[in-house]
């Protein structure tokens, strides 16, 4: 499916998805409550079949935290980028997609560990790299650590 058709298709599935200009990928901002339902449709419907989540990451955009999903279909080879935003920095949660794409389990743990975005219904949401009793989330823009980060 080419990007124009794909755009129509996504907007018919989630009418309040916000289209974002991006040179490389077709990009949408999805309301957090609709992400999980959309993920199930993206993988199961034959004309979409986005079965390969090739990157899942988080970004601290200062005003909000963002989870970015890079998707590809191994049958149709079309690509799509979805973003989910949470304005609540302390308790904001996004539904997990690791029941849809298994690779998300590790990647969501990484995002939780380093950016502090919680994933609701994740089976094993623990820190993956840092120690369990580490304070704070290092990849946030407001994170300070006088011992471990050397300012030059």
């Amino acid at each position: 499916m080419d990007n124009a058709a794909l755009k129509e298709r996504i907007l018919s599935l989630v009418p309040d998805a916000e289209y974002q200009e991006n040179k490389q990928f077709l990009t949408f901002i999805i309301p957090p409550a609709k992400m999980h339902d959309l993920a199930l449709k993206l993988i199961s419907e034959a004309d979409l079949s986005f079965d390969y989540l090739f990157c899942l990451t988080g970004v601290d955009m200062v005003k909000f935290l963002e989870v970015v999903y890079h998707l590809e279909s191994t049958t149709h080879r079309h690509q799509l980028v979805l973003k989910v935003r949470t304005g609540d920095r302390e308790n904001g949660a996004v539904d997990t997609v690791c029941d849809v794409w298994k690779t998300a389990e590790f990647h969501e743990r990484e995002v939780y560990d380093l950016l502090g975005i919680r994933f609701a219904n994740h089976p094993d949401l623990r820190r993956i790299f840092l120690d369990e009793n580490w304070k704070g989330y290092p990849f946030r823009k407001d994170y300070t650590d006088e011992v471990n980060i050397v300012e030059l």
């Binding site: 991006n22 970004v59 690779t103 389990e105 990647h107």
Partner: protein
């Protein structure tokens, strides 16, 4: 007379117990800790504990300029150092809309393939060693030395090269480069036959790897497994074929695909990939055009605000670099989607029900590089 104490005898066959594999176990090839639940010697489940070598490279990059970031990418998957460099370089070149000279693209493609052979050689020798064949280790290292010598002659370093820069190469290759690469290929075509003779056809090795640790194509896609480990399951995921970069759309090469998805198939994938890489190099080595070794670049590289993504095929699978730029000389956020991290996530799934000794063989066939997992 001393009283005989009757200790309760536990039936180890029935009781589940845990053992730690790593962080200092030789078969993990680095500081990876696997907590394995066993019943008898059957693996019930396995929990990887990562982070022993987590350096926060992505956070460090937020303070670095793009040419500086190149040096940090070497330190992720250090056996694919050049290919990691290439990912960042191509991302910057794409964002700045710079055309690199043809000579650079040729040299980069050749060196990427030499890197792949180099990495697979090291994988082969440690695979043999993990299964108890120490001879492999010496054979592999002996031949790997030839590639390192070529690298050293051209750019001075043997492991962490940082040879590519945005726009081109740090310096031109040594005048002997073409001659030495051709000599190496002639040499290695003979030696790779020894590899097959000594290990691939070995009965003990085949008994220990065939039918062990089977990964299905569906699971490979779902877990995001890439590289030779996924292609052994018949999953066509070669970035060089599906999203060509460099000269991969101009050279002829086969994407090696398997069917069985077991440990032996993953082994055979890499053996064939080494041959395929040599075919790629042979098509290019005589045709390197003359010219400059770098494009004209500004002193300070500022990426226009926006998002960029670049995928490359490293020796272990797909490396993705995702950059969010706010128009400054440093990235606002950079993410490295490393192949080993996704490949590790499937280990629990494919080792369930196998024996603890098989875990070593499966781990060796997945070819993890720990700094690439932790970053």
């Amino acid at each position: 007379m001393k009283e005989i104490i009757n200790l309760p005898v536990k039936n180890v066959e029935e009781e589940e117990y845990h053992i730690n594999m790593g962080p200092q176990h030789p078969s993990t090839h680095g500081v990876l800790r696997l907590v394995v639940s066993l019943q008898g010697e059957i693996v019930q489940n396995l929990k990887p504990h990562c982070g022993y070598i987590h350096r926060g490279i992505e956070k460090m990059c937020e303070k670095d300029t793009y040419p500086q970031i190149i040096h940090l990418t070497d330190r992720m998957d250090y056996f694919s150092a050049h290919i990691n460099n290439n990912a960042v370089c191509m991302l910057v070149e794409k964002a700045l809309e710079v055309d690199v000279p043809e000579r650079v693209t040729y040299i980069r493609t050749i060196i990427d393939e030499l890197t792949r052979i180099n990495s697979h050689q090291l994988w082969w020798c440690s695979f043999g060693m993990d299964l108890g064949g120490l001879t492999c280790f010496f054979y592999g290292l002996r031949d790997r030395e030839k590639i390192l010598d070529i690298f050293e002659e051209s750019f001075g370093s043997r492991l962490l090269h940082s040879y590519y820069t945005p726009g081109g190469l740090m310096m031109d290759v040594h005048p002997n480069f073409q001659k030495n690469v051709k000599a190496f290929i002639k040499y290695f075509r003979k030696k790779i036959k020894d590899y097959d003779d000594i290990l691939s056809g070995n009965v003990i090795m085949q008994e220990r790897t065939k039918g062990i640790g089977i990964l299905t194509r569906e699971d490979a896609i779902s877990y995001g497994v890439t590289g030779p480990s996924a292609r052994a399951s018949g999953y066509s995921c070669d970035v060089r074929k599906h999203h060509p970069y460099g000269l991969y759309d101009k050279v002829e090469f086969r994407e090696i695909l398997g069917t069985a998805g077991d440990t032996f198939e993953r082994y055979m994938m890499r053996m064939q990939e080494m041959r395929e890489s040599m075919n790629i190099i042979e098509q290019l080595i005589d045709n390197i055009p003359a010219g400059d070794h770098t494009a004209k670049m500004k002193a300070v590289l500022k990426l226009p605000a926006g998002e960029y993504y670049q995928r490359v095929e490293t020796a272990r699978g797909e490396l993705g670099v995702y950059v969010v730029s706010d128009g400054n000389k440093t990235p606002f956020r950079i993410k490295f989607r490393s192949p080993s991290f996704s490949n590790l996530s499937v280990l629990d799934h494919i080792t369930r029900g196998c024996k603890i000794a098989d875990l070593v063989a499966i781990g060796a066939s997945m070819d993890y590089v720990i700094p690439d997992i932790d970053r």
